[in-house]
């Protein structure tokens, strides 16, 4: 079963085409990376998947629900994390998680908060205001918020941006374990090639709003004859990539 089905999705702001007729699917249990430079359309695509943004054209089905008609049913079973969206700074970590426990109608909120705190090493932070945490601590709290409802689909927008290598590695390791244990599907937008290479079973390469290539990290490396995804990324950024539709034709 495909958890995400995107068909002919476009987003236009005036004369600017931010996302240009992309189509893709994400199967259940997969971790798929959206990889591309600034302005490639990653965040716009994720915003449309979350219902924050209305597409100009195309259709999105998430967990079997048409997002144009029934987005709230899907939103209850998914979650989202981004370093660019904050949690209320004056509320403590516990209060923040409690708020989202209610918003996602989670049973046994306190038990769930304790479990997440233990898993993400947040126990010492629970009574501290979210605004007083370091970037790494905030990322772990944001991750706890995104897992409060045990989502079947997790959308992550650059989850390790601005983290030091050690904390970034911890977060990536935790995501790997969580996906393996829960069977959760993850769609991950990132600039970080090593992160994508490590976490993702499939990668969608975006450029100027279009999917210009796709495949497993290994397939992409072989296709471009490169040793790592950074070089593949640079090949694509410097116009040596292919557009999937054209390649198929």
């Amino acid at each position: 079963m495909d958890v995400i089905e995107v068909d002919g999705l476009s987003k236009r702001y005036g004369t600017t085409l931010a996302v240009d007729a992309i189509s893709f699917t994400v199967p259940a249990g997969a971790t798929v990376g959206l990889l591309g430079g600034n302005g490639a359309g990653k965040t716009t695509t994720i915003a449309m998947l979350l219902g924050l943004l209305v597409p100009s054209e195309g259709r999105i089905r998430v967990l079997g629900y048409d997002m144009a008609r029934n987005r709230f049913a899907a939103l209850a079973r998914m979650n989202f994390s981004s370093p660019y969206v904050s949690l209320p700074h004056r509320l403590t970590v516990t209060e923040n998680l409690r708020v989202y426990g209610h918003l996602y109608n989670v049973a046994g909120i306190e038990r769930r908060i304790r479990a997440l705190a233990a898993e993400l090493d947040l126990e010492a932070l629970l009574d501290r205001p979210a605004g007083q945490l370091s970037a790494g601590q905030k990322t772990r709290v944001a991750l706890a918020k995104s897992l409060i409802n045990r989502p079947e689909l997790l959308l992550l927008d650059e989850p390790t941006a601005s983290l030091d290598p050690d904390t970034g590695d911890l977060v990536r390791g935790w995501l790997e374990r969580y996906r393996a244990e829960s069977g959760c599907t993850i769609l991950l937008a990132s600039h970080n090639m090593s992160e994508v290479e490590r976490l993702c079973s499939h990668v969608l390469m975006l450029k100027r709003g279009r999917i210009v290539d796709a495949g497993s990290p290994q397939q992409l490396l072989e296709r471009y004859g490169r040793d790592d995804l950074v070089e593949v990324f640079l090949d694509i950024a410097r116009n040596r990539g292919r557009v999937l539709d054209e390649a198929a034709a």
Binding site: L50, L53, F80, L87, R98, V99, H102, L103
Partner: protein, 272 residues
């Protein structure tokens, strides 16, 4: 894993957003103080003014003093209700939390219900101390007007809500640049609301404007109750009818601006 459906998922989501704001107040005494500060200050200023005038003049001025205190208290109901909704929404915007709220299963009408719930709490926290002070210092008991006070409160609260939905709609349309309206917009309606004087005092050209506002009818009703001890049901009916019309218009505006914000992508960058 959903919780028991007995409470109702919608009810829990509304409570979740209200809890977010209540937790904010619990941890911040300046915020709590701010709720009551202005209504109490207004009451003190106008209360002493009314006392001074009453001591220098006869019963007519005493009655005017009572009318003044009633007007100050009731107008604060509208002001605090309006700010209760608008500032609760702005708190989400300032904390850059709207992205998380809008991708949760919280429906827009549930968000509106939570903001209204917070508005009621904020209004009561702000206005009740002022009412108590008016009774203690000036022996003015607003509730001596009888059960009609409930209708005065209700109509002014509803007016505060639809004004604030207009403000929130403007914030959705124009971003944080429109946030100053959260404090100022209802003050702009004060001259037309006939808070401190009858509608008849206004120039003929402005009277239709005043009579299109529920507040003008509430204050005409308040003056009749204080002056003659009569209940002007005609004014109450007008106030309620106008509130229904204005609330419908504000709800439509909010729904349209919310959808337009989703089309423009403004929900991603509204705090900027």
């Amino acid at each position: 894993m959903p919780a028991s459906p007995r409470i109702g998922a919608g009810g829990r989501r509304i409570w979740g957003l209200m809890y977010r704001h209540l937790a904010l107040y619990r941890g911040s005494w300046p915020r709590l103080l701010e709720l009551a500060y202005w209504p109490v200050l207004q009451m003190l200023i106008w209360g002493f003014t009314a006392s001074y005038l009453a001591s220098r003049s006869g019963t007519t001025v005493m009655l005017a003093g009572g009318t003044l205190l009633g007007a100050v208290l009731l107008w604060e109901v509208a002001l605090r209700s309006q700010m209760g909704v608008a500032i609760s929404f702005l708190e989400e915007l300032w904390s850059r939390n709207l992205g998380h709220v809008f991708v949760s299963p919280l429906r827009p009408w549930e968000m509106v219900a939570a903001l209204i719930g917070m508005s009621v709490i904020r209004m009561l926290t702000g206005v009740l101390p002022a009412i108590l002070l008016a009774w203690l210092l000036y022996a003015f008991n607003l509730f001596s007007l009888g059960p009609i006070v409930v209708l005065f409160f209700a109509n002014l609260m509803i007016m505060g809500w639809w004004v604030s939905f207009g403000v929130v709609s403007l914030i959705l349309r124009h971003g944080a640049g429109a946030e100053a309206l959260a404090w100022s917009v209802l003050f702009g309606l004060t001259p037309f609301s006939a808070v401190f004087y009858p509608v008849a005092v206004l120039p003929a050209v402005l009277r239709p404007v005043a009579l299109a506002l529920p507040s003008a009818h509430v204050f005409e009703g308040m003056r009749a109750a204080l002056r003659d001890g009569t209940i002007r049901w005609d004014h109450m009916a007008w106030a309620l009818g106008l509130n229904v019309v204005w609330m419908a218009a504000a709800t439509l505006l909010f729904a349209r601006q919310f959808h337009a914000a989703r089309v423009r992508g403004a929900l991603l960058s509204i705090g900027e």
